[in-house]
Structures are given as structure tokens and as C-alpha cells.
Symmetry: C2
Subunit: 599 residues, 2 copies
Amino acid sequence: MIKERLAKLRALMEREGLDAYLILTQDFHGSEYVGEYFKCRKFMSGFTGSAGSLLVMKDMAGLWTDGRYFLQAEKELADTSITLFKMQEEGVPKLSDFLADKLPDGGKLGFDGRAFNYKAAQNFLKVFEKKEKKISFVYDKDLVGEIWEDRPALSAEPTMLLDLFCTGKSRKDKISDIRRAMAEKKADYFVLSSLDDIAWLLNIRGADVNCNPVVLSYLAMTEESLILFINEKVLSDSVREALSLDGVTFAPYNAVYDYVKQIPEGKSLYVDDKKTNYAIMMNRAEGVKLLTGDNFTLLPKCIKNETEVNNEREVHIRDGVAVTKLIYWLKKNVGKIPMTELSVAEKFEELRSVQKHYMGPSFEPIVGYGEHGAIIHYSATKESNVILEPKGFVLMDTGGQYLEGTTDITRTVALGELTREEQEAFTLVLRGNLNLAAAKFKTGICGANLDYLARFPMWEQGLDYNHGTGHGVGCFLNVHEGPVSFHWRIREEERTTYTELAEGMVISDEPGLYFEGKFGIRTENLIVCKKAEKTEYGQFLTFETLTMVPIDLDAVLVENLSERERKLLNTYHKKVYETLSPYLEAEEVEWLREATREV
Amino acid sequence: MIKERLAKLRALMEREGLDAYLILTQDFHGSEYVGEYFKCRKFMSGFTGSAGSLLVMKDMAGLWTDGRYFLQAEKELADTSITLFKMQEEGVPKLSDFLADKLPDGGKLGFDGRAFNYKAAQNFLKVFEKKEKKISFVYDKDLVGEIWEDRPALSAEPTMLLDLFCTGKSRKDKISDIRRAMAEKKADYFVLSSLDDIAWLLNIRGADVNCNPVVLSYLAMTEESLILFINEKVLSDSVREALSLDGVTFAPYNAVYDYVKQIPEGKSLYVDDKKTNYAIMMNRAEGVKLLTGDNFTLLPKCIKNETEVNNEREVHIRDGVAVTKLIYWLKKNVGKIPMTELSVAEKFEELRSVQKHYMGPSFEPIVGYGEHGAIIHYSATKESNVILEPKGFVLMDTGGQYLEGTTDITRTVALGELTREEQEAFTLVLRGNLNLAAAKFKTGICGANLDYLARFPMWEQGLDYNHGTGHGVGCFLNVHEGPVSFHWRIREEERTTYTELAEGMVISDEPGLYFEGKFGIRTENLIVCKKAEKTEYGQFLTFETLTMVPIDLDAVLVENLSERERKLLNTYHKKVYETLSPYLEAEEVEWLREATREV
């Protein structure tokens, strides 16, 4: 079947005079997850992993994917004639290098420019230039679309409006702010295609991307107009009316491409070229003055207002009740009633779903028992699923979407006896988590200035974790939200590490330790940046921990904590107890008192 | 007299058709200190401060300087007709803005392009462009030189060779390394004008810049040739011979400008445009391909080799003996024999000068008693000099040049009773100093990732210090040496904060606290970056403290130290005692034992 599809694609490539056709794993908006309509790479290759790029040439087809998927891809690509390229393995060429080497000089590379990030495409061009290969892009052909007869429809979930008690700022005020920012940059047109930015700006939510409550759409603004490019069927009359009242007009989803084409020469167009697809960028007329920079929505979305922060606090109590009940249930029942990674994940959903205004998971839950805890991107499947036994650790990284906010929490829980090594590792991770959350610093400080606080307990032992320490989190929006982050890397080309921490930013604090084949630990809270005192030296800032769930004292070596760390842990646990106990059953409260005892 | 000089300059400006003439405080090499020959701004304005820019137009003359010099400049500029522009004060225009506003469109701005950093000149052009003013530069006229009849000669101190036991790497090997780097960048020509880079590369030292043991010269390299542009009188026969043996040829100091002009079109010229003057940059023919980047010498100079690190250790013992003797003398004699800030500075020189291979101070000593300690750039003068009394703090920031290395140390010493506030502040600074020096981290980490360690004790109290936490230090070279540093600011345009820490880098660790009108504290050690273990997570690094001088326990509130900080202090003091006591008199040893006691 795959071979047939490849043959059809090659025929279309010949029709178009293409030497190669590239199929990435992206939707038109750079979303973190890709809906069924956009799964062209899966359709063409049979490979079902979440990341991978398929290259088809006359005489070869290759799939590039990363270490998480080598085994799976080998299995799924058998008998497809597609070669697996194991990314990062020695001797395996990068896709861009491979193209530069294999394509003829003057060759033509085709792809659907809507499903290819502009900056990423530019990076390909840079590689070609470096290798002195002239290659032109043909980006306006969705050849897979021509082949894919029973292609699923674009997601068209209903759009809902968010009330002021959720957003804290009206659509009208947000739009005015953006227009002011446009005027400052002398931007006549502003085109926005990242879905969480659109949802934030218009105070709307949907369900068009898995776990991300966003609405498939593009948005274009001028000083007078604001056009939402959208499948109008997803708008009820009342939603349409409310948006119209604030000056929003509507156009078909794909009409944005023609819209960009007709921007008059001499006018200026502002886009975030890091977050825009190749087709939008290239569709502008030559005489249009291009202005690039971060989306005007980026920082105001990241900096939560007072209403949003209060809502997040409240939501974290609900979520904390659910997760704490789960941990109690787990500790009480493990080894007594049957439970597996998958059934625990279901239990999370069950306990969250009875909480007020719960809207669904904020990402696919990770429940990894024992050695599965060491696989950072583990997601239990029917095949991998194991039974939880009353010993060792289970690592549980889950989160919820609520009407008023988003949660993301990891707890590693001891199900029974632990080894000394497990306790030592758990205590190191805990120390990192506590020290970062207790930072006090001045305005101007970035995540990269503070990352050391989470890592030094590990580094002192020659250990480390190969992921960032924290990411920004949206407010009933994407659980991974830029531009703020905690990471030590100061990358010159990536903005995230430069973002100054500011009051209202919600960020995760999630150091970990992973021992392949043995166990994994991560302890994650969400923290919100708050103002402390202002002195002649500047405005000082601190964090407040939003997440309210006990950290498993059964796994802590108290003697390995410093005096200060012990106090920080006790203070946190005291607050957890006081906050959650009113919402728990008597036996749960009794357990929680012990679970949050002073150490 | 100043008015006459200005009149002469204005006549020359008219002859050249210039609308304005700019006189900065720079030598031709961007050195930190400016020799007598280069003091044109002082000659033309009468203002003697170390920083300031003089602008002369037909109908005005203005001097821009910073807060350190407002009082002095007001006094010195009286009756000169020169207006003082107080930089950073509200309502005072920047020099570049002033020029953009006052110069006529199409106007001509003259300056000596040899004494104007290229990047700084570019920044002026950017301001003009932003304000849509067309202004051209006339950069080849040293008009002050025409007026200045009894101008001092260029410094022409003898050049000395450094032996392999000092440098650890031969001139020949260094030159080969640079040629390899040139080949990698496809650089046909490499022009080097920063004096410490030239001295490092050729293993020569001189005394042409105050406190910096460098030789006035330029250097130009190709694959075959290496020309040193220098006043040949400073070269003895043996020095000349040794350099010649390694392929160095000689040309007159100022011939570098013609040399750059004759680089053939089509060839490539590599320069560090951040460290090169405007004239050199502009003298190249249009068809020369310009390559810019850090000087090839920058990192190898910064990363000290094993010989240099061993030498630095040894030199810090000698220096530590001198400074420890001074502190003992101070504690014993204050209030009993007369001593002033200036006499203490002389005592430093006296005690250092008897140490092996002492070559002079590495910068002008800062000895600030009481409230003078709060003035960060304080340097005692006959007018400001005060008597030291047996109470409060004296802050002493001094350093020495030795044949094998450079030192830089600050100790704040209690001369008698202290207030609780003074002790608290001292202890905060000490905590910052100890915590930074005790960092353990991974390869890839920059100064900006660690700066928090030095600042957090202050930040926790809403306090801060308005200077960097540390700078790189040369090896018998400049005491301020790039590119490594400790500062939290992640500036996009400045390279220093990106420099990854690496084995062999010598950096200062110098947090402080300053209370205007009251007292100041700084505790500074030099630390060297060292390899720790290599694990599957990467190569780990730590610091070793080079400076060996006790920290005044009379000022420490031991109860304000954490357990870990107490241990760090005790470990340091134990090492100081063991290292220095063999070199001290009996009574000094007795005192040192007490001064380094366990707390």
C-alpha cells in the first residue's frame, strides 16, 4: 500500500518536474501536536511516531526520525522500500546535508509550504548555499493531498468564548494594545498564525489540536480591520456576534494566502518569521516591506494578569485535590488491587474529571513504573504497559486543562521499599526543585541565570538531566508556552533564554534524574513569578509555588538536605496541608497530615 | 591657554572644511590606559580625568564625562569656554545625539581615526542614520598634533623576551596555531592591534601602557610573513635576533596604515572590528574581502596553559605574603603610627617590591578608608587622602605584575570596632565570594550562569552591587582581560557573557557592597577554572582559588554563615595558613594562625 502511494507521488513529482518531495510532521501553524488531517507523513510512510520527516526522490525514499522511535520505525517501515535514517547516530547524514549532496545542481525540491516553518526552510537554504548547490523550492503543491482520497477533514470543533472572569482582560482592550504595538513598529499589516496567540488575543478557545484548546484559524490585522480566517461552521451565532461586536470579520480558513498576496506594495507587513509557515512568508509581493519580530501577543500572553494568576492558584487547588487523592489511593492500594500504568493514567482522568470546570488533559499523561520512569518521553501503550508493584518508584507527569487555567505536575512516588540509591537520587532532585523555587532576584534576570539552582545538587555528584529545567505554561492554553524557560544554555539565535523573568509568568520547575534500565525521578511544580520589594538597587522578584501536592517523604533522605532546604520543604508541606485538607475525606486528611509532616 | 588652542583648532577645521572635530580619550590600540602622547583631550580642554570626549564646533565646545568627574571637570573647565555635558544626567543629550542634531545635513565630522574605535564610530553612524542626517567622517587628520608643539614622545620602553618557563609555549608554536586558524577562516591577512594580544603572541613584554606590560606596536600576518610595526629603538639586538629567528620582520610603527592600503584586491583580511581603530578598518581597499571575528589570539590567551597556571599559583604565594604582611602591619599599627590611604598604598608597593620577580603594580591601587570605601573607582589623591583610624573598614584593591603572572586582590579590613551593620554587610559579601568559588558545573556554562551565586546573599536582602562580579586576568599581562567574565547580564551584542568557562581561565571573584557616605566592602580572590570528573553527562569543572590572603574574621558574623559556607571559609583559611606561614616572621605566623582559625 505504501509502495503504491509512493509510486503515485513519484508520478505527480514527474508531472511537476520535481527532483524530490519533502513531507514533514507539521500542521500549518507550527502546533506541538498534529491533527489527523495533517498526518501526511504517516499516510505516505506508514510510520506512526510523533516526529519524523519523509523524503521521496525518484530512486529512494528515506525517513529521518530520532532515538525514541528507532525500533518502532524499523518495524513499521519494513516492506515499504523506505530507508530509515537514525538521527544523531554516527555516520547518518542530516536531512539537509543529504539533500544538498543528492540533489542535482539547479534541482527542484517540492513541499507543501503551509506545513513547513519558514525559518526551518531558510536553514535548508543556508546548508545548500554553504555547499554551493543551487536548489529551488516549489512550495505551492500539496501532492499528498491529491493522492489521499479518504483524507480526514480538518478539525472543526466548536469555538467557545472565554468570559472576563477567566481572562481578566477584554478582547477589545487586547486588540487596542496590539494596534498600539503595531503603530510603534510602523506595521500596516500584522499576520498571526500561531493558534494559541490567536486564541489568547480573541479570548476564544476550541479543541482543534490535541490537548491544546485552540481554534484552527489565521488572523490578520490592520489599524481598522481584524479578519479571522476560519471555518465559519465552528462559530455559533452568539460567538460570531460577540466577535463581530469587537470588529472581527470572517473569511474562509485558506483565504489567508490570497490575503497576503494582495497586501499593497509599499505597505509594511509584520510577522514572527520564527512562527510562520513558508507559504505565508513567500506569498507577499516583493514591494511589501517586511518587518519581523516576536508576535505582539507573545509577552502579554506569557505575563499573566492578576485575574489569571488568581485563577491559576484556584485551579491548582482543584488539581491538587485530584492528584493528592490519586497518590493516597496509590499508596493504599498498590499490590492489593490490580493497577497498571494505563489504569493509573485513567484514574488521574477520573479524579480530575469531577473537579469544577475540568476540560481535559493538558498533555498525554506519562505514568512510568520502575525502569519506564527513566524514559523521558515515555507514554504507556498496550504493549509496554506493566503492573505496578509495591516497590520502587512510579513517575507520573500529568496535567489538566480547566476553564480558568492549565496545570502540569510530576510526582515520583515510592510504592514500597526503595534502595539507598533511589532515595539519594530523589533527594538530589528535590533539592534542585526547592532551591530554584526559593530564588530571589532582580528584574533583568533570565531563566539561564537561575538554572544552576536546580542543577547544582546533581552536578556536584557528576550527574545531570538532559532536558530543560522548566517551560512557560499557558492559562487554559498550551502547556508548553514560550518565550520564558529555565535552561542554562545561552543560545545566540534562540530568544527563550533571553526573556527576562517578570511578574505573572508561570513556569514549570522540574529537575529530574534518569538511570536507564533502572528508574527515573522528576519532581515538578508550577511556579509564578511575583514582585518582592523595590529598593534603590532595583525591583526584586521571587516565585510562588502554585502546585499543591505533597512530595513523597518516604523517598527523602532528610539528612541530605541543608537546613534551609529542610525549612523550604516543611513550609511547602504546611501550605499543602492547610490548602488541601478542607477538600479531602477524613481518611485522606489523616494520611495527608502524616505525608506533610515536619521533617 | 585653552581658548587659544581651541582657536587654533577652529582655524585648522576651517582649512579642512570641517563642521566639528571630535577628540576622544583613546590610544591607537584601545588600551585601558592612555599614555601621555595620546592625551589630546586633556591638552585641548585642560580636563585631566581618565574619561571624557571633547567636541569642538565653530560656535561651541563641549566635554562629555561621567559622574565620577563632574566636580573635577567643572573646576578644570572654568574659563575655558567649554561646556560640561554630564553624562547620564536627565536632559543631557548623548554626544552622538547632540552631533546628529547640531551638525548640518551633509556636514563633515573630523577626528583622528587612529584614536577612535571602529565599532564606536559605527555606532555614531547608526545614530545619524536613524535621525536621517547625512554626515561624513574625515578621519585622517590629527589636527591636535599640528597644534601641540611640545607633545610628549610616544612611549618607547625597552622590549623584553619572556622565557618558556613563563609562557609555557614558544612563539613559534603560537604563530603556527594562529596560521592554522587563519587557514580555517580562509584569511589571507590578519591584522592585530590590541597590545596584549601582540605581547602574548610574540612572548614579549614592555612598559608602554601604565600598569600593562605591553609594547606599542601593530602586527600583520600572512601565511608566510609576520611584520611587527614598531619603533625599532625599543628592540635590543638580542630581542630583534630572537624574533627574527621565528620569522618576524620589522617596519615603522605607523607604517601599518600604508600596509593595510596595499593589501591586494581579492585577498581576504581578518580583523576583530571590535578591537580595531577606524583608520585601519577604512584604509583597506574596496576589493579586499573583510572577515571579522574575535582575534585568533583571544581564547588561547585567556585559557592559561599548565605552565602559566602553575606560575600563577606560585606568584600568588609571593603576593599573598606581601599582602598578609601588610594586613598584619595595619592591624598592629593603626592608631599607633601615622598612616594614610596614600601611605598604605606605598606600603603595598614596598612589601611587593621585595618579592621575587616583582615588576610593578597591575593597576593603580585603591585604598579607601571609611566612606571612601563606598566610592567604587576611588583613588586617593593628596586632596582626598585621609588618616586611617582604629575603627571601621579600609577597603584595599591592589595587584602586582610579576614575571610569571598577574595578581588582583581586594581585602576589606576592620581597623577596630565595627557596627552590626558593617559586620552583616561584610558577611553577605563573604558568602557571595565563597559560594561562587565553590561552584561545580558542566562544560558549556558561561559566567552569566553562575553570577547568581555571588549575588544571592545580597539580593535576598534587597541589596546589590553595581559592577560585574569578575573579570578575566592576564598572565603577566593586562589585569582586565577578555573575553571571560562573571556578570548576570546576557547582552546580545557583547560576547563576554557567552564565553564558555574552560580549564585554565583565571577570573576574579569580587562581590561587594557600598553604602554612600558610610562604608564599602569588597572581597576579591582570583580563581582558576579546573577540570573535575568526566561522566556520561559531560566534563565537569570547578574553580581553585589562587589568592592566598586571610579574610578578616573580625568582621564575620559566623552565625550568619550556612554550615557549608563555614566549611568553605575554614578550608580556605587552613590552606592560606599552610601556604604562607613558611614565608613569614614568627610574630606574623602567630597572628596568621589566629587570623585563619577555624570558626
